[in-house]
Symmetry: C5
Subunit: 323 residues, 5 copies
């Protein structure tokens, strides 16, 4: 599906009314303008048009239609092909949803292909169109704006993960809370998926920042800013991964502690109740000659004895923290 | 065993009827065609023919007959020798079966040697013969097609491992399920074997993509596609390995939790049953002066007392989650 | 907020009374002096003045106003932009507070921007003004002095962390101490944050020490000293991280040991008390023909028997360490 | 001790009858032959002869007499000095025994010095003498043959370790087997020692394969084969190390599971036996008015009641898997 | 404190009687001799003399007076500044004591500054003076001799650590031994400190061995020998670190095993003692119609019954290993 198409000259947008081909020809003729086509999950037929116009390598075209690529930057003759993973945090399930954006970048055109849910590019386009000084850098400014948006979203997702981890920490260190082992594990899974999305993007941006991608020469400082943000996210993701391991081990230690305390409490009560049983057993023996049995106050004395011993045990166990 | 042999010119196949030597001579004479011999677990004698024709280095020839090589790319004079590990997932046992494919690649010939079960090359050959535009790239296109097939299978196996891990997660987090420690461990073993097969292939493909293997110059973009897929699989395998460690630790934590809950339940019942024993013991004492014993309703009152205390304990323990 | 502003020539300070612009012009005209403006959490308006004077790149200007950057060194035309993380240890909560210092360094000016609590730069300025031989190295000497101060503080914080770890070790290996799992975990978190602040500074200083930052050419030996100190802190932080993992595992082991000892003690007492219950039960049976029941000394003999067995058990269990 | 000495020319051996010096002179004069001296744990005196003849650096000479070197390759003027660790698996104790082979390699001589048990070099020499086409490559062929033999043995030891690990896995996952914690740990120790022997050999062989050791120029393809085998062993050792960690964690999990099952079984029986005790206690009370006591079938009824409850408990606990 | 001072020419020592300055002038004039000043924990005043004579950079001078540097090699104009950590193993406490040696090395002088306990340099000087052929290499030979001594001591300390680990292993795998968790942890701490001392020395020696330190050109082979030894120690320290982690995990597993065995033994005895209690309870019931009570041999029969059941339980539990 073609979502939007326009031609940009000197930082200003003009809609493409007629055929895409004409727009491409126009852009090619005039060195200072570029075409931006935005596609959403195109089928092969829809993509055919663009593909022919851009004379794309069949492998790149194949990648654009079917999603599930790694983040990467590839050069095919005059076209740069960039794949980005988009992330979105779903509040209801604490899940991270992964989408994909592919970008074909040439001197005078840029084609963005979006797959799956996640970051819509509409706002990016709108923001760009309001920043003519950025648009003047040509097609590369679109690549920058998309990367910037995607990495900003990474930052938001990393923040949500941080919030989740703090919640898990609270549950782990609160004796009354429900068991969160499964939640810790499932967040660990999300973090690994997160890392799979952001980590391979680092060398892509480093390539650009180091100036090895001529098309982005004039915008290197912008990409450096994005890379910087990405490295920050990357550090957070690594820390999150390590924290989740630690929180699980801490959980193990606290479970052990809890079990020991329970065992102490249980056996303290068992001891307190075992005393009357044993004493009563003794005075339940049927010996003929047991003088205490005939004492007038034998019974209350034994009850007092039992109560005293049990009471003493209770205070003693309470004092050393078992009860 | 010679499985298939043919000569390919301009993207079209012709069978080799006569002697292999003649076909090789023909290919050598005509710069635009190449011979493809497919072998399956050849013995030394069978391989002798090919070896002489290709003037192979004795070490390479030895490697081809006995399997158990590491994935690698080696250059001997004019011949490239590539070893690939093939993987197949066995549904019945959840085992990963490892096979091997060796490829000798020259300017005008390609010899594929397959060992063990796993990916048959028949379909690869058939698919290639239906893609003359690919075949036109010469012998290197065969290497590409085999690598592509092998790495595609890696992806399928990685998917099966993912499915297995999800199953194990479900069993770990389901209190009623059987213990899966042994399954987690055995999948860990499979994943390590998987990594041993795919990891050393990365530098092999990187060599080709970086253009250091002249024979594959025209197909670099195809190999880049395979490398890309391989890197994706590699990331999955690493994540699987890490997930399996985490799932085992989560399993440990849940076992501790389970044990604590069992202990609480058990001792709750022990407490409930200890109360009647203790009280009955007291009224079983043989003191002469125990007025309650002579009360008309002494017995039912004690029974009610016992029931009340036990009932109170039950409700109390039930409320704080021990029972 | 402009905290301080001055012009330094030949190692001597003169206050800037009039407009900043004039001072900048003066510094630019006279090759041997430089302007130092100190800002604290400037808003965009306050920063506007400086930004125009220095002709800063909009991205760098944006970074300076909003904090939360990674430690980094960036070059924009004639300006070096350095971001440092400052750390302060809060005694009351054992927390590490993170602040930020940004530095814009040119041939004839230096602008320091401080965000958040943490290291004030007043003492740094004062110390510098008392070291004219250092100030003679020009604006770079300010960057050095700030880095030196920041890294010195890292060393102090690392020392406090070390003290905390020693305290945790003591608590872990002291059987009577309260559970410190949560403290270990929270210190682990602080150490990860510490690492996030100091680790990315290493390549920044290495850049300078290797002479790739022309502006700091004359002070390379000073920066090497700072880098050296930073590497020492970095090694400590890594060791702290590893120690905290080990202390948690040791804690787990000691919990297991403690639980086992408790269990032994509990069941020893259970055994000692089970003996009188069982024996008394036997003599509580109502058989008509139980000769012992009629013995004159039957009762004291049984009491002695019970006491002997219990005493024997106690001594035996005490000897093999269970009690 | 001089084990063997010979001069090899054109792939053929001639014994050295007279003085070693003369043999060396002969080899030096005739560019196509080389001397091979084999020593076993020489004392300083014995080594003095060779040392002077080869004009060895005093440090290299010192290394050769005292063992306990790291695997390494060093160049002293015209001599290459290589140290290899030999491994042997002792079946009786499952221990890995470490020995050492040092090799001094020049253009026209090779001196092998063997320390400790392990791979004797006799068979290597014999095998080489039967492969004149290999011997023709000169002294370097001896280095190759020794490396090949040593690395082959690594493969055998790695196989034995694999067998041991499989045995440990079986014991860990078999509930009836004895505890193998100590065995796992001791195998872990062996594997670390194994890694200490084989890992530093990798860069040594890489040096040779990359052609940085001129003396081995003509045999690079042979060394590539050895390196390949070594890398395979290295991968196995790494996998073994990781597997042993996992097997220990799995062991921990299974111990926890076992303990929980035991606890459930134990407390089930405790519950079953607590029931008759409590009921019998009630009917042992001495109340005057307990009508059941006078029933003719009171006693058998209570026995039936007790048996029923215990039986019900047994079936119930059996059904939910506790018993 | 100046410990020793001498001038060395052609491998021979002459004492410096007069002023140090004169000695330095003499050494400078005569290209073939060098001055060696040995200091022990000098205060600033004492160091002032040397500092002026050597025209040291103020930062290097500051480092020399205050200890607590990282091992490093720095170049200041014509002077090389090397910091080494010295280690000493204290038998009584199994602690590792850390000291420091700084060395200023120029073409015609060497100043050694020692801090803290640990390796005295007297024996090094004496050994050097007895090796004139080594001393002929000039001032660099002193650096070599000190490094050699320091690294030799590392080897000794590593050996002591190995001995300690073997002791801990023995204690862990011996069921009767005291708990060594705290000892394992404290040795882990020592090993981390050890690594902090030896690891940063590796790049220092590599610099020298690669020939990037012109002053040590003639002694590179000697330094290669030291580096080799250091790498061996480094490998041991890494293995020790890994072993200590494993020994702690094995300790955890054994604790779990021990606990399970204790629990089985305890509950076995509980079961054996619960039987007489239950049976005696039944015959303690006060039913009027309990025929067994009136049997002449009722009592002995019940005693026999109880003994039989308990005996049967004992044998059964003993056979399946619980008792």
């Amino acid at each position: 599906m073609i979502v939007d198409k326009a031609i940009y000259a000197g930082g200003k947008r003009s809609d493409i009314d007629g055929d895409i081909s004409d727009a491409f020809d126009l852009a090619r003729a005039d060195g200072d303008c570029f075409v931006w086509i935005g596609l959403f999950e195109p089928d092969e037929e829809e993509f055919e048009l663009v593909k022919d116009e851009l004379r794309l390598h069949p492998l790149a075209a194949e990648d654009a239609v079917s999603a599930h690529q790694r983040p990467k930057l590839e050069r095919y003759d005059d076209t740069i092909f960039v794949v980005l993973k988009t992330l979105a945090y779903l509040d209801e399930t604490s899940d991270i949803e992964v989408g994909e954006i592919m970008i074909f970048l040439g001197r005078d055109f840029v084609v963005t292909v979006r797959h799956g849910a996640g970051n819509p590019l509409g706002p990016v386009r709108k923001h760009l169109e309001e920043s003519p000084e950025l648009l003047k850098h040509g097609a590369a400014s679109v690549l920058y704006a998309v990367c910037d948006e995607v990495v900003d979203r990474y930052g938001l997702v990393a923040h949500e993960v941080e919030v989740d981890i703090i919640g898990l920490e609270r549950a782990v260190f609160d004796p009354g809370a429900r068991d969160v082992t499964a939640d810790i594990y499932s967040l660990k899974r999300e973090v690994l998926e997160f890392r799979g999305a952001e980590d391979p993007l680092i060398p892509v941006l480093q390539e650009i920042v180091k100036g090895r991608v001529a098309e982005c020469g004039g915008t290197r400082e912008y990409f450096r800013d994005v890379l910087d943000h990405l490295l920050q996210v990357d550090g957070q993701v690594d820390a999150h991964n390590e924290l989740l391991n630690s929180v699980l081990t801490a959980h193990l230690a606290l479970l052990g502690k809890q079990q020991n305390e329970d065992m102490r409490k249980i056996s303290s009560w068992a001891a307190i109740i075992a005393v009357p049983t044993a004493i009563a057993g003794i005075y339940g023996m049927n010996f003929v000659h047991m003088p205490e049995l005939k004492w007038t106050f034998g019974y209350p004395l034994v009850i007092i004895l039992i109560a005293s011993i049990s009471g003493f045990l209770y205070r003693r166990l309470h004092k050393n923290g078992w009860l």
